[in-house]
């Protein structure tokens, strides 16, 4: 059985034929060419395939494509552009939180989901927020540093924009 489904990926409605039993990970990569979503363990242990679906971080290998019908999905490509990076992307580069880069898309989305819920997390909360993602290169310290620094930057910039609004500029 296959069915044509639509889902909103990074702000754009996409259509594709999803097979019964096909994982959302496979559908995103092979049918919608979202190869920024990485295929790691395929069983929910590594977090490389993390996406944000309807506001929640999920392992796309543990969601079936047909379950994603009419959902809104964010992948790392939807976060920022090369010219205009998201603060998390900028912080990962600045802090050297990337080595081989395979875990990075999932790691950044897990961090995004955390910051959406908790704008000012402690280091411990960051570690917990990223506990579903494995990185075999960095030893995690720089990743936690990057998330901490992005959170600070995001809080400051939202404070500045509030000030501008209050000043009526």
């Amino acid at each position: 059985m296959q069915k044509k489904i639509k889902l909103k990926v990074n702000g754009v409605w996409k259509y594709g034929w999803a097979q019964a039993g096909q994982s959302l990970l496979d559908f995103l990569r092979k049918d919608l060419f979202c190869t920024e979503v990485k295929h790691g363990c395929g069983r929910g242990d590594c977090g490389a395939c993390t996406i944000i679906m309807d506001g929640k971080a999920v392992n796309s290998c543990l969601v079936l494509a047909l379950q994603a019908e009419d959902t809104t999905i964010l992948t790392s490509k939807g976060l920022g552009t090369k010219e205009n990076l998201h603060p998390l992307q900028r912080a990962f580069i600045k802090k050297g939180a990337i080595q081989c880069g395979f875990c990075t898309p999932g790691m950044i989305l897990a961090a995004k989901a955390l910051l959406d819920k908790n704008k000012n997390p402690s280091r411990e909360e960051i570690q917990r927020g990223l506990s579903g993602n494995l990185c075999r290169c960095t030893g995690y310290k720089k990743i936690v540093d990057a998330v901490e620094s992005a959170a600070q930057e995001m809080t400051e910039s939202s404070r500045n924009s509030n000030n501008i609004e209050e000043a009526g500029i």
Partner: protein, 292 residues
């Protein structure tokens, strides 16, 4: 055999009809975090998925009088973060917070944790100390069972996902002198199999234990209540000595296997004492009992 159909019923009744029509070839899917890998590695042979995700109202956590009721699609993330569960069913909030990682907890359900019937399941174990009951609806009608009755063997539940659905999980909220706690030993904090886990519920009356429940996993093919240790504390004075006696009984009653992943049986049996005592200390601390 691969999955040949994936159905989305809009009501519980329709879901059961669909299961009935497909015989035992169809299976219910809730969070899918256990089922999807099992289908992929062919250890589960189902051909048709009956998906609960479009049935409304199944993801509610409700308090009716003094009973807390969870719908079958309530996720670990919900029970971990619900104010009501944290305050009134503390062990469940703690147990769910330790399952997998955040991505898993956003999908995995409490009901699924029970039906998967793993002796080490963190969320399900806490339901043992809360004396939870389950309402089940299926091809053969409706029934209510105690959580203990949901388990047959490792990975085998008495609840058959090819013909019936857990429609509600319910238990009493913690009263004034009552508290529950969940403890776990594992190699890592996240995405790790527990070496041991323990859930304890206490009701105290003045300086005595009025009633206690002690649940342990994975020390047998199914999660177990240590009733003999519970009895030993009933009506007894709250003291470290009495807790140590109960912990000793718990270790005697436990029969953990040697496991490549969890550690040797002898080590884990010894550790049962430690985890039980630790659980009681935390529980009593939460009840503001300090000198014992």
């Amino acid at each position: 055999m691969e999955i040949r159909n994936h159905l989305f019923p809009l009501s519980i009744k329709e879901a059961i009809e669909m299961l009935k029509n497909e015989g035992n070839r169809a299976q219910l899917i809730a969070g899918g975090t256990d089922l999807i890998p099992a289908i992929r590695d062919r250890s589960n042979k189902c051909e048709v998925l009956v998906d609960m995700s479009k049935i409304p109202e199944l993801d509610k956590i409700e308090l009716l009088n003094s009973t807390i009721q969870l719908g079958p699609r309530v996720t670990m993330d919900q029970t971990e973060n619900s104010e009501l569960i944290r305050k009134e069913a503390t062990a469940l909030a703690e147990g769910s917070s330790l399952v997998g990682g955040p991505q898993i907890r956003n999908r995995a359900t409490i009901a699924g944790n029970i039906v998967s019937a793993q002796p080490a399941a963190d969320a399900a174990l806490s339901l043992f100390c809360l004396n939870a009951q389950l309402k089940i609806f299926g091809v053969r009608g409706e029934r209510i069972i105690k959580i203990e009755e949901a388990y047959l063997d490792v990975g085998k539940s008495t609840i058959d996902p090819t013909s019936e659905m857990v429609i509600s999980i319910f238990f009493k909220k913690q009263g004034d002198e009552e508290i529950s706690v969940f403890k776990r030993m594992a190699k890592r904090n996240a995405l790790a199999l527990p070496v041991l886990n323990c859930a304890v519920w206490i009701r105290k009356k003045e300086d005595k234990f009025s009633e206690v429940r002690i649940a342990l996993g994975p020390v047998a093919p199914i999660p177990i209540r240590i009733k003999r240790a519970e009895e030993s504390l009933k009506g007894e004075k709250i003291s470290l000595k009495n807790i140590e006696i109960a912990a000793e009984i718990a270790a005697e009653s436990a029969s953990p296997r040697n496991s490549q992943f969890r550690g040797s049986g002898a080590y884990r049996k010894e550790m049962v004492k430690v985890i039980v005592i630790d659980a009681f200390k935390t529980a009593l601390y939460r009840l503001n009992v300090e000198d014992f």
